[in-house]
């Protein structure tokens, strides 16, 4: 009882708690929470069968498959190449390394519309890269491959930037111990290094995947937006909005929001796992 009383009577030395927390909650509610609630409120205008019919219409179903599939593949490819890029940037020295390191963040900084028109023009039949691929029979622009390319561009920094600090913190003694006990370099990588990097790789994968699911600007130019073939889910929402069919647009938006929230939760758990692993290592 006595302990409890001491705890609740803790004196705050620093001022401004009520002011800053109050403003934070007010601004958060006004800008984010109330408008987001509008999405869920709007769907109540639809009956349950109408809602179900909208979110399962063939164009929407095709767009979910495409969006999830392309985002998944892009994030997976980024895990592989992102790990190599992060490794090379931490462990090796080469000419221009600092500039390369800074440019990895380009997809964060470059506006999506600029990325979109650039990739579309670059991979079109007479673009710099497109004309090299055309003789091989590979078409990128206006195909699902194009969407994959744009999503790979967007997701690249997520993996590199989550794995890079973990590689920097790797204790060289672990690797030395493993190799002095007779492990080959390859075994050291698979048995010692990769297990330590796994939580960060998963977190990076989830971040890139989540970002790719909602991506719009960089995809629409290269995708061509052919119904049932290269229409991603945000394009379906945009199409319904252009026809002023807000209820339909909102129903599909709800599906995307629910998926995003589940992913956000998963990312939080993953990050907690990554951090726990790190502090465990330090101790």
């Amino acid at each position: 009882m006595a302990i409890k009383r001491i705890r609740t009577k803790k004196i705050r030395v620093l001022p401004g708690f009520t002011l800053t927390l109050g403003f934070t909650l007010f601004y958060l509610g006004l800008i984010v929470l109330i408008p987001l609630a509008a999405v869920f409120w709007k769907t109540t205008e639809l009956t349950w069968p109408e809602f179900w019919h909208t979110i399962t219409m063939p164009t929407a179903m095709a767009s979910y498959r495409l969006t999830f599939g392309a985002s998944f593949c892009a994030a997976l490819v980024n895990v592989f190449f992102g790990l190599i890029v992060a490794w090379v940037l931490v462990r090796y020295e080469f000419f221009g390394k600092k500039i390369v390191d800074a440019l990895v963040d380009l997809p964060f900084a470059l506006p999506t519309a600029v990325a979109g028109i650039t990739l579309a023009a670059l991979y079109s039949q007479n673009g710099w890269v497109g004309q090299l691929l055309a003789p091989l029979g590979i078409k990128v622009a206006n195909t699902q491959l194009g969407i994959f390319v744009a999503l790979t561009f967007i997701g690249l920094p997520f993996i590199v930037r989550t794995v890079q600090p973990i590689i920097e913190d790797l204790d060289p003694e672990l690797e030395e111990a493993a190799s002095s006990l007779g492990a080959s370099r390859w075994q050291v990588f698979w048995r010692v290094i990769l297990p330590v990097l796994t939580p960060a790789l998963l977190t990076g994968f989830a971040l890139a995947f989540a970002r790719a699911l909602g991506e719009y600007g960089s995809v629409i130019f290269i995708a061509g937006n052919i119904p049932m073939k290269t229409q991603i889910t945000p394009v379906i929402i945009m199409g319904e909005l252009d026809m002023f069919d807000y209820a339909k647009a909102t129903a599909i938006a709800v599906v995307m929001l629910v998926v995003s929230f589940v992913l956000l939760l998963a990312i939080n758990v993953l990050q907690w796992w990554t951090n726990r692993y790190n502090t465990h290592n330090l101790a």
């Binding site: 705050r12 002011l19 964060f108 999506t112 028109i117 650039t118 719009y216 807000y246 929001l257 995003s260």
Partner: protein, 307 residues
């Protein structure tokens, strides 16, 4: 060199050799990394600038001087000038509350602050259409008896304030998509710094504001600057959210990214890339400042360790 030093160095060299990769593997990995980055980063970057000048330097500046381009630049700057300071104030306030005090539900608050990052830009635009659009919560056509906030609705109608398909909607959408940037940079930074320095300042008689300006701000200035430039880059480059609320009226509600889309849809590729080069240049400046800030930050940390 003394013999002792040599013997000290030998095991170290041996261990280096056994834990490193063979030169062939190194060379291969570096090549793969650079090839991948070239395909996805370097070539696109070079491509923007070459295409921008594809029709000559005269055409480039002609495009940039076009009234529609100038109006897009003006609108983008307006949106950023409003959105960035607001999110900056929010970021500092949120970081102060979260890093300097203990309260229940802190983790939930942190997740909610990150929420705009996981919402698709198209949905970010949609939510404001649902609130302020013609049929929305506060729209013109919403019948007054069922209005959610009758006084607010009639105030908006009486003053003939247009939000959707107008500048205020663009500003709101920009604020939403750039919402977490500053807070996200500052919260971990201020949490790591703890509260002892501020508490000492208070005990020594400084007022709350003095503590903030003289103790906290100098400690967080690089993180704050970093958050602000990231926030600004996104504010000026946002496309999807702004596309939904803007209505894309040329010369009136087109921002720079929307103007790029309009030019591209007109098959004016050189024009589109000329305007795009402005934003690509902004992105490079952002990355430059970011690298510089990180350098300053590392230097600050080093001097603190020495102290």
């Amino acid at each position: 060199m003394t013999p002792a030093a040599t013997t000290f160095h030998v095991p170290h060299a041996v261990s280096r050799r056994t834990t490193g990769e063979p030169p062939v593997v190194r060379w291969l990995l570096i090549s793969v990394a650079l090839l991948f980055l070239s395909l996805f980063l370097f070539i696109p970057l070079v491509f923007v600038f070459t295409q921008a000048f594809a029709k000559g330097i005269g055409f480039y500046f002609e495009t940039l001087r076009d009234p529609n381009t100038l109006s897009a630049v003006k609108l983008t700057l307006t949106a950023a000038i409003i959105a960035v300071p607001l999110n900056c104030i929010f970021g500092v306030a949120a970081a102060w509350a979260i890093a300097k005090f203990d309260f229940r539900g802190k983790n939930i608050l942190l997740t909610l602050i990150d929420l705009p990052f996981s919402v698709s830009p198209v949905i970010a635009g949609l939510i404001y259409v649902l609130v302020f659009g013609a049929q929305g919560w506060l729209g013109h056509y919403r019948d007054a008896e069922h209005a959610w906030f009758p006084w607010l609705q009639s105030w908006i109608n009486d003053h003939n304030i247009k939000i959707i398909f107008a500048v205020p909607g663009i500003v709101l959408a920009t604020i939403f998509v750039t919402f977490p940037f500053v807070a996200r940079e500052l919260i971990p930074l201020m949490q790591a710094q703890g509260r002892s320095e501020e508490e000492a300042a208070r005990v020594l008689g400084a007022s709350g504001w003095q503590t903030f300006w003289r103790v906290t701000l100098p400690n967080i200035k690089w993180g704050l600057l970093y958050g602000v430039i990231l926030c600004n880059a996104r504010a000026m480059g946002e496309f999807g959210a702004v596309a939904v609320v803007s209505g894309r009226i040329r010369g009136q509600t087109n921002t720079i990214p929307l103007h790029i889309e309009a030019l591209y849809d007109d098959y004016n590729f050189a024009g589109a890339f000329a305007v795009a080069s402005l934003l690509a240049f902004l992105a490079l400046v952002t990355l430059g400042i970011k690298t510089w800030v990180e350098h300053q930050h590392a230097k600050q940390n080093e001097t603190e360790v020495i102290k």
